[in-house]
């Protein structure tokens, strides 16, 4: 069994009183709780903090923990021989996690008491993320999931068991959407239902499309003459390239909608694809092109900054 220094995790002295332990826990919970924290490592850190607090806040568990002695964090250790007699079965410590040890702690815990009393206990729920590509969201996908779930072994002890399975992500999932996998969490005890696995869908960034719900956005670079004269251009969509009519006089930033070309919605219909016009100029113009632009500049009456002058006049009138 690997040793964890619960006092160091909470940042308190071994002699800290219950109040100091609670205060330290709260401070760290504010910092790392996955529902509150922005820290990407918050969830893992909070798990350690919550595990440490669950043991140290309970006077009996804390006493039992203290009797395990002091070891370096991560050090493989065995509880002292008399520890087993006092708190549980000393032969059962091989390959189990310290948190599982305290969870089933000598029948003092709620869980262990209920297990002995044959009260049905539902299995633990788990949360996880399914990272999928935009193409997977468009077509639907199967993902391989790996999970360490708590299960009772043949001796009635809680153990972490690795479990892997395939899950179907139906088409129409988008960023932040939640899915429930019934019965894929921890095993229920004494006939209690198995726990569930909740998946949070996260989309990988795509080189071309940006998703907003089921709508997709695509930058559509246009040459100046295409935006002035209009053009029919080929644009990629997740279902294959389509032709898009760019109307004459298309401004930069204008959104051209391709209805139902976004992500399919889970139950019916689909989002839209928006092509955002961007007017792009060549980095290098040939002599011929420069001459043509020069000709255009001399012949055009267009003043893109006319409104600056209007504003200026208004300013002068008001002062």
């Amino acid at each position: 069994m690997k040793y964890k220094d619960y006092y160091a995790i909470l940042g308190v002295e071994r002699s800290a009183d219950a109040d100091a332990i609670k205060k330290a826990y709260r401070k760290l919970a504010h910092k790392y709780h996955p529902d509150v924290s922005k820290d990407p490592q918050g969830e893992a850190k909070f798990k350690d903090v919550a595990e440490a607090y669950a043991t140290l806040k309970d006077a009996e568990k804390r006493a039992a923990y203290n009797q395990l002695g002091r070891h370096a964090p991560g050090e493989d250790f065995r509880p002292p021989p008399d520890w087993g007699r006092q708190f549980g079965d000393s032969h059962a410590f091989e390959g189990i996690d310290l948190s599982d040890l305290f969870e089933h702690f000598a029948g003092h815990g709620r869980g262990a008491g209920a297990r002995r009393a044959h009260i049905p206990i539902p299995g633990q729920d788990y949360e996880g993320a399914a990272h999928i590509s935009l193409e997977d969201a468009y077509r639907g996908a199967t993902v391989d999931l790996e999970l360490n779930v708590s299960e009772l072994d043949e001796r009635g002890l809680m153990r972490r068991v690795p479990r892997s399975f395939k899950a179907r992500i139906p088409k129409g999932a988008t960023d932040g959407q939640r899915l429930r996998l019934k019965g894929k969490g921890g095993k229920g005890i004494n006939g209690g239902p198995d726990g569930d696995l909740y998946l949070n869908v996260a989309l990988h960034p795509h080189p071309l499309f940006r998703a907003s719900g089921h709508d997709l956005y695509l930058d559509l670079p246009l040459a100046p003459w295409e935006s002035v004269l209009g053009a029919t251009v080929k644009v990629p969509t997740l279902g294959g390239a389509v032709e898009l009519k760019v109307p004459p006089g298309t401004q930069a930033g204008q959104k051209l909608r391709l209805a139902n070309r976004g992500l399919p919605k889970p139950h019916d219909g689909a989002g839209d694809l928006y092509a955002i016009a961007q007017i792009v100029v060549p980095g290098h113009a040939s002599d011929k092109e420069r001459a043509l632009y020069q000709q255009l500049a001399e012949g055009a009456s267009f003043n893109p900054r006319g409104h600056f002058e209007e504003e200026g006049k208004h300013e002068r009138q008001t002062h």
């Binding site: 919970a29 709780h33 509150v36 179907r168 939640r178 899915l179 996998l181 930058d219 670079p221």
Partner: protein, 108 residues
Amino acid sequence: MNAKLTETSWLDAHCEVSLAELASLSGLAEAELRELVEYGAFAPNDPRATQWTFSGECVVTARAAQRLREDFDLDPNALSVAVGLLERIHALEAEVRALRAQLPRRVR
């Protein structure tokens, strides 16, 4: 490896759960859920109905509420404030994501 494919179900507005189901899925007691509804942390589909039903999205919110209650030791009043603020943050984050998606990237 178990080759059998696990089916998934959406937790969205199309999925409806009863008060009892919401309690069992979230780990909150029905009385606690009623209190959270009363404080406006989340709402049933039809508050006047005799048998309340909730959108599947409420499962996610109620589970977060259960974690917050458990981990921060919150009373129902404080919990409803926290859940209300979290919901607002999620709505604002969704809005930021939507606006970001519309911002053009620099064209190479």
